[in-house]
Amino acid sequence: MTNKKTQHKPQTRRAPKAFKLDDSSVRLEGEFAQEPLSSEAVVSEEDESALALPQNNIAPEPKPAVSRWSKIIAIGGGGLLSLAIGLAVDSLIRDLFARYDWLGWTAVGLTVLAFLGLIGLFIKEWRSLSRLEQIDHIRDDLQTAADNDSDKEARAALQKLMALYADRPETAHGRTLLIGHTQEIIDGRDLVKLAERDLLAPLDARARLIVMESAKRVSVITALSPRALVDILIVLYENLRIVRRVSRLYGARPGTLGFWRLARDVAAHLAVTGGMAAGDSLVEQFIGQGLAAKLSARLGEGLVNGFLTARIGVAAIQTCRPAPFIATKGPSLSELMSEITKSAPDEVADQD
């Protein structure tokens, strides 16, 4: 903390000063008259967070030397491929022109159309990827803000978070609350917690619901389905659907590439946390469900599949959520599973 502060503190201490507000030589920035008293009249804030380096006690890892050769190969190969495609298209159009002129022109038109579509697709994918990246950034920022308990960092990150949800009307109430909080003097860590509670809590509840639904469906269908192939397809479909729905819920709009990146992240997350899960809840779950599994192999299989789906769901929530879990622990597997096994009859009753 100390080295951080000294960087932007003036070296000499400044003398106390007073400015009477009717003094014409004094200019206060901002419009105090319009602001309620409880709010802050923060004016032209110095961007101290840019100067303040995060406290690092861990040596940075040296970056691996980037291999130029693979890049060169990629450029060369990609270029050749593009040329081949271009040549093919070109010769096709030439051939068409040789037969009839109008056929040639139609081909040209179609080519332009395809090209435009390609550009549009690129832009969309690029935007969705950058949005994913933005979410990752916000999460990291909020985490560091909470770790350093720095309110400047927290405020900046919360601004971004609110911008992320600006076009989501259902978050309006949470955003209004949060704007109120940022105008008070509240410490950084507390601000992040408040954001979690006021803005993200409804989304978290919905995300849990999504995961529960899918896990439940998977366990029911695998318990009933006659063929293993159907099981596999259903599990795959539901898992991909969870990732897509959860990411959309938290504000990402994954396109194809973005979706694969997300899926990869979720898988990576699973790999990281997998050991842990197997360590506690997995064993616990299977001992607990052992009886049910013994009663029926199919039922047991369904539960296992449901469990795996829930696991992916939890990983998806943790990957897609634009804030770390600080105030709450986040959804846990055992909690989801017990709810799945418990609420199955309720669900039936609800649907009646």
């Binding site: 000063k17 409880s38 032209s44 008070e184 003097i185």
Partner: protein, 498 residues
């Protein structure tokens, strides 16, 4: 009217009586099951106890902005209202008047003259399933307010007259500019020590001693370590023999004074003071506490300079020493209930820029380090924070002659000065109080080697008037603004409202 009829009527009357009694009993039984939290608001004089209590109660009753108090932030707090207090022999905390003073007249409440009590009942919805079924969703919060000066008497519990005299004279001699009159009076009467007691001499000594103490307390000196407390804030004890004594220069003589001499009577009065004033106060009001908040006003001490700061630190250490758990402490024997959460709060954080809050917190930690260690050792959880029960300033930046200065915007109290400017208490001003130094030992040590240039940069915390409260379109007054009051409440009460 037949006898049967009247019998019937009587029986019915008896039944009604019985029913009323039963109802009353049931009511009080329900009342007994409502959990009660006794919050001890501890602090030296002018540390802001009364304002803290008023703001806490007002924010709960008026539904103020308390996002960090979990029950309020998540909307589980149904309502809070004042109820008759449990102890009938203690005056009620005059909440309504204090809030009126704060909001309408925009003045800080006068210093507290006597002890008072308040019971606030909070209705809430529990967040856990089990306590929703079992608990009544109610909590009584009992708060006690008392003059901060009295707290200093805690130190006297461990000192006899000889020790008290020695300590008091040592302190008096260290402040010759303030104690000259008292010391000369004492010297004049020195030879009467073993002569027959005369009320005139005793009164003379007590009066000059009191004058000396109150001079120490003035703003420009802001000293804290000034026992006995009732000399400064006598309450209803003014003029009683128990308050008409003074420390005497006993030298190193160990002879037991003869009965009837000045020395003997003074000693007896000191013992009477301890027995009839100090002990009952602490026994009645410090026992039974569940939670404790210790308010510390470091800013006034910083204003007055290193001596005052040193004195404050000493006073806090002495006071918190009296709360030491274990057999050696007399107090621990009556503290049957265990205080399991203690919050140390540096008050008046609104008089500082937000960047300096962290430093203020650090300064506070330094001041109460020993007390924190002790409390943590005994198993209580401890937290420190910078707090403003009522926030009277806003943060702003001033552009002046091309220089940007961070400042605080508020209405300074009348007759406050900074540099050459004097304030009239009506107009708003932007004030930059100076930078709180990075290295806090600067604050303690700079007395000797302070140059003139450094004198110019000495910190100056101007006192501000309470804020003007905005009204909504419907004419509702908004609740009092604050800094971290909700966090303090969450620490002190959060688990009881879970």
């Amino acid at each position: 009217m037949s006898p049967l009829n009247s019998l019937f009527k009587n029986a019915r009357l008896a039944l009604t009586d019985a029913q009323t009694a039963l109802d009353n009993f049931a009511e009080s039984a329900v009342d007994l099951t409502v959990p009660t939290v006794r919050l001890g608001v501890t602090g030296l004089a002018r540390s802001g106890k009364t304002v803290f209590i008023s703001a806490l109660v007002h924010n709960l009753i008026a539904g103020g902005r308390l996002p960090l108090l979990d029950a309020a932030g998540t909307g589980r707090l149904a309502r809070a209202y004042l109820q008759p207090q449990p102890d009938d022999d203690v005056p009620r905390f005059n909440y309504e008047q204090h809030v009126e003073t704060l909001t309408k007249e925009r003045l800080w409440p006068d210093s507290t003259h006597q002890i008072s009590q308040l019971r606030l009942t909070i209705e809430y919805e529990s967040a856990t399933f089990l306590s929703r079924q079992l608990g009544g969703g109610k909590l009584h919060l009992d708060i006690v307010d008392y003059p901060g000066e009295w707290l200093l008497d805690l130190v006297l519990l461990r000192q006899d007259f000889r020790q008290f005299s020695k300590e008091a004279l040592k302190r008096a001699k260290a402040r010759p500019d303030l104690s000259a009159e008292f010391l000369s009076t004492l010297a004049r009467h020195q030879d009467k020590l073993h002569e027959e007691f005369s009320e005139d001499v005793a009164r003379d000594l007590a009066n000059t001693f009191t004058t000396y103490l109150s001079r120490c307390r003035d703003d420009e000196n802001a000293l804290s370590m000034l026992p006995p407390g009732r000399f400064l804030m006598p309450g209803d004890m003014k003029g009683t023999p128990a308050l008409t004594f003074a420390p005497l220069d006993l030298g190193s003589t160990q002879v037991k004074p003869k009965a009837g001499t000045l020395l003997a009577i003074m000693e007896r009065r000191y013992e009477a003071y301890r027995k009839h004033v100090v002990r009952p106060f602490f026994k009645n009001h410090f026992a039974k506490l569940d939670r404790q908040i210790v308010l510390v006003d470091a800013l006034t001490a910083i204003n007055a300079g290193p001596a005052a700061l040193d004195d404050l630190s000493q006073a806090l250490t002495e006071i918190m020493g009296a709360f030491r758990p274990g057999k050696s402490s007399w107090l621990s024997s009556i503290l049957s209930r265990k205080i399991n959460r203690i919050l140390f709060a540096a008050t008046k954080a609104d008089h500082l820029r937000r960047e300096d809050h962290e430093h203020l917190e650090k300064l506070l930690q330094q001041l109460v380090q020993q007390a924190i260690n002790r409390a943590e050792f005994s198993g209580a959880s401890v937290e420190t924070l910078a707090l403003a029960s009522v926030r009277s300033t806003r943060q702003a930046t001033v552009h002046h002659d091309g220089v940007e200065t961070p400042a605080l915007l508020g209405t300074p109290m009348p007759a406050e000065t900074i540099g050459d400017i004097q304030f009239d208490g009506e107009e708003e001003a932007a004030i930059f109080p100076g930078d709180l130094p990075e290295d806090l030992s600067d604050l303690f040590a700079e007395e000797q080697d302070r140059t003139e240039a450094e004198d110019q940069t000495a910190l100056k915390y101007v006192r501000f008037r309470p804020p003007k409260l905005e009204r909504t379109a419907e004419g509702l007054t908004l609740s009092l603004p604050h800094i971290r009051l909700d966090r303090a409440m969450e620490f002190l009460l959060g688990d009881k409202l879970a």
